[in-house]
Every structure is written in C-alpha cells, then in structure tokens.
C-alpha cells in the first residue's frame, strides 16, 4: 500500500513470533509498517498507538488503525485481556516508568513482546573500555537523547526477576551461533517475550 518500508530485524522477529489470527496492539507503532504486515500476512486484528501526530497521520492515510496516546500516561483506556499480543518495539528506553508500562501491557494483553538494545554487547563494552565514553544513541549525545532507560540484556533479565514479570523467552537477533549462545555479549538486539508460558489458546 504505497510507502510501506522494510521492517527492522526485531520487527521481522516479532512478525515471525506472533501466530496468525492474533489480536495485536503495537505501542509506539510509528507509521504502522509492522501492523500492516501482521494484518496482510498473518490475518491479525491490529491496533496501533503512537504519540507523534505525524505518525498517527501516516497510519490514518494508510488505513492502519491507530490512536494518539502518550505511553507515559498508561493504557487506562484499554480493558484487561483485550489483546493476544502487545508489542513495544525499541521504545522501552524512552518510557519514564517502564515497569509500570510492562505491567499494563500484561494487563491488556496475554503476552508482551519487547525489543530492546543490549548495552552489554561487546562493541559497547569495548568502546567504553577504550574511549571511556557511553554509546551514542540515535545520533544524539548522551544528555540530549530521549533514551533515558538503557540497559543490557542482563539488566533486563534482572529487572524481570525483581519485578515479578514472567519472562517467557528471549529471542536474540542475528543468525550467529555466538549471539544465541552468549546473548549478553554477542546479541545487539533482543526480543523479550513476557507472559504466562501456557497462554496459547
């Protein structure tokens, strides 16, 4: 449908994970490209949320259902268990109270899929060790970026345990055996799956 762009690797992974026919909510859905593919290729019922007017307008124009909402305000509009899957793609790090949002995601959906950058990747570790500097994020300097909650793979797993979030699976991205074997060091990007293990209907 016109200006559909290619998906990111983590979006492709999410597209692969979600079973056909699911009801899917994408938080921070951007221009709705992932939702569009979920609808067209997997027959999913889709709904997007974004806070950026430009993105919401793109969704309107492309026929991707999207509502305008700031995720920091929570998901109070949405009833419990309204969705099978709730997606948070590369947005976790921008949320002021991310744990509250993850709990909200598990309230409105049976499963949550979160893609997140791993700051423990060896390249970031090496850069920090050699230059003494944090990684740039999205080309912004560390004090100017909207990314306020960045952590490593281990940090994420740790958070899930401390906060009692049921971490069901981790999907390290990249085909390399190293990334799958030692994600903490070799996976730059991971998709985390929260929710009850036996939730499939």
């Amino acid at each position: 449908m016109g200006d559909s762009r290619d998906l990111n690797p983590d979006q492709l992974e999410i597209l692969r994970i979600i079973p056909a026919g699911s009801r899917v909510l994408d938080l921070g859905c951007g221009d709705g490209s992932l939702l569009e593919r979920l609808r067209d290729e997997k027959g999913c019922a889709i709904q997007g949320i974004d806070r950026d007017q430009k993105m919401v307008m793109r969704c309107f124009q492309r026929g991707i259902p999207c509502i305008m909402l700031d995720l920091d305000q929570g998901l109070a509009h949405i009833d419990d268990a309204s969705f099978d899957y709730v997606i948070l793609g590369r947005t976790f790090q921008q949320i002021h109270r991310p744990v509250r949002l993850l709990k909200e995601m598990l309230r409105v959906g049976r499963r949550a899929l979160i893609s997140n950058l791993n700051l423990g990747h060896w390249r970031f570790r090496t850069r920090l060790a050699l230059t003494g500097r944090c990684p740039e994020s999205d080309g912004e300097l560390w004090y100017a970026t909207a990314n306020i909650h960045q952590g490593s793979h281990r940090d994420f797993v740790d958070m899930a345990r401390r906060e009692g979030l049921p971490l069901n699976a981790c999907h390290p991205l990249g085909a390399s055996l190293l990334a799958r074997q030692f994600p903490s060091l070799f996976a730059e990007l991971l998709v985390y799956e929260l929710g009850q293990r036996k939730a499939e209907a």
Partner: protein, 377 residues
Amino acid sequence: MIVKPQTYTFGHTSDDALPLRCGRKLGPVSIAYETWGSLNSEASNAILVCHALTGSAHAAGKYHESDKKPGWWDEMIGPGKAFDTDRYFIVCSNVLGSCYGSTGPTSINPATGKAYAMSFPVITVADMVNAQVRLADFLGVKKWLSVVGGSLGGMQALQWAVAYPERVHSCLPIATTARLSPQAIGWDWVGREAILSDPKFLGGEYTKEAPPERGLAVARMLAHITYLSDASMNEKFGRRLQQMSDVNYSFDLNYQVESYLNHQGLSFVGRYDANAYLYITRATDYFDLASEGGGDLTAALAKSRCAFGIISFSSDWLFTPAQSEELVASLLRLKREVFHCDIQSDYGHDAFLLEVETLGSLVRGFLSNQQRSFGNG
C-alpha cells in the same frame, strides 16, 4: 465551483410526517441541501457532510461568481480537495430547526398560516438525522461511504452510525462529543437566558424587523469565546486597545477583544434567528449517544458497524480531546479498529474550520481507504 441550493419536502400527509422524539409529528418538512460531484452508478461514493450549530447547507462553492464568500468548508470540498468532488458525491443538508431553508421556527405552520416561533416542537439530534434519512432515500443513497461533521455535525455523524448502522460505511466525527459536559450545557443555558430576557423577545413572537438583537448578540459573543482558546485569544488580541492609546475610564469598548466580540455578535444578529438558536442549542444539550444503548455508551456504539475516524483538537475546551477519548475507549472495548488523531492546535474548538491542511490530509487518506473497503463491509 457554482452550486445550486435545493430543497426536498416530505410529510404532507399525517402518515408521511416526521415522528419526533418529543412525541409530536412534524409535517410538511422541508430540507434545504446542496450537492457537489455526482453519484456513481453503484451509489457507492456518497458522503454526507453535517454542519455545526449555526451552519448551513452551503458548505462549498458559490451561488454566483460575484458572491463575496464561498461555502463554510470550501477549502475542504472541491475538485482535488480532501473531499474530492471528482471522486465523491458530497451532500450537505441544513439541519431541522435551523433558519437556513430547512423547516424550523421561522417556517410557516400550515395549521395557523403564521410562523411556528415558539410553537415549534423541541427537536433533537436524532430528529435531525431522521430527516436526513428521508433526504438520503430521496437522493437514492442507501449507504453513505462516510458521514462526517464537526461539532454538532459530529454528533449527527455519531447518531447516524448508531441509529442506521446498515447505512453508514464510515464515520468521521470531528471536534465533537458523545454528550455535552455540564459546562457546555451551562454556556448554552446562559446564552438562551440572554435571548429569553431580552424585552424584544416577546415570547418568540417578535417580527423580522425588530428581533431581540441584544440577547442574540450576547448569546453569540458568549458562545464565540468557547470556540476560541486562551492561547489563540492571546495571540490574536493580547491586551491591545482598540484605536486608543490609553483606557478611557468608561464602559465603552476599549480592548480589541471587545471590539471583535461586538462585531461577532452584531454580524450574527444579521444572519441568524433567535428562536432557531434556542432550538438548535437545546438539541445539542439533549444529545447523549449513550441513550441509544440504554444509558451505556459502549452498548450504543455496539450497534454501529462502521469504521470510525475520530479527530479532536488539543486546545478544544468545549468538546475536549478527553471526550473523544471516551469514544475511543468504548470502541476499543468493543474490539473495534479505531482511528483517533488529536491534532495539536492552538485554535480551540474552531480549529475544525481552520486547521484545513492537517485535517484535509487525514480526511483524504481515511476516505480513500474507506472507499477501497466499501462493499466488503
């Protein structure tokens, strides 16, 4: 674009008359309307544009080349515009109760030979829509590709979606609400009190030559403030004085904002009827979409089958973004796919007439997607 005002009249017999929510029957009923573009052979490209409180059927184009101003949404409706008249058949009709050609308190009551005035029945948004249904039948439109409107127009669009689900493919409610807040009912009340307490009102039996202009002007000035925002008034007027270098220690108009409101009030008196104003504002007060679902908004919306594209404006404090979000929440509860854009704007409620570029781009995309799915739905 030259457009011709038209009128459709029905309800000459008691059987054909329009049954109203208040229990009375109204007939004959005339509906003034205008159309742009042409209905295709499958009748699948018809869009109903519903106007706001004191609007008319004259949404676009001019009656004569020499007209000073085109219709009220001319920037949105026309060849190549958001409501593309090369693709769509656009209809706009004047609401029941108005003074712009449709039957209202200024119309002659055939039983008495005199204007209805205050003997006109109290009408509702549902009645307005029921009258539009008769017009749709007459025009050969079984199902609208979209019903769209801002403010009171949006209430009509919502009412259509819920009361006539099989006749609405999509609904675009703009800067509107499922029900008026007590604050909005309050403004309407004060406005009507200004009219009713004008000594020239005479129980509604005033003549055309001597209308209750003071009361009507005050009502309009008051209402006009609710259509703007604090930010837009600051921007537009600040505390600037009107053609004087200092305040003059009197109650004459000193400030630009006073002069502006005064002008708005006076020009309104020249173009609108006081009785019609009473009736139309009352219809908005009474509007509560939830009543179509036994008092439950979600139950009401459950009756609808169409896609909803809900548009609000961030600075609208008359029909707030939160009120649009109520609609969104109900639709999500029903597991419907929902479109909602809260356009960032300083123009307040009036933004639906002013933010034409952003609005146009949303409407254009939404309609073309809806046109693709028409017939499947």
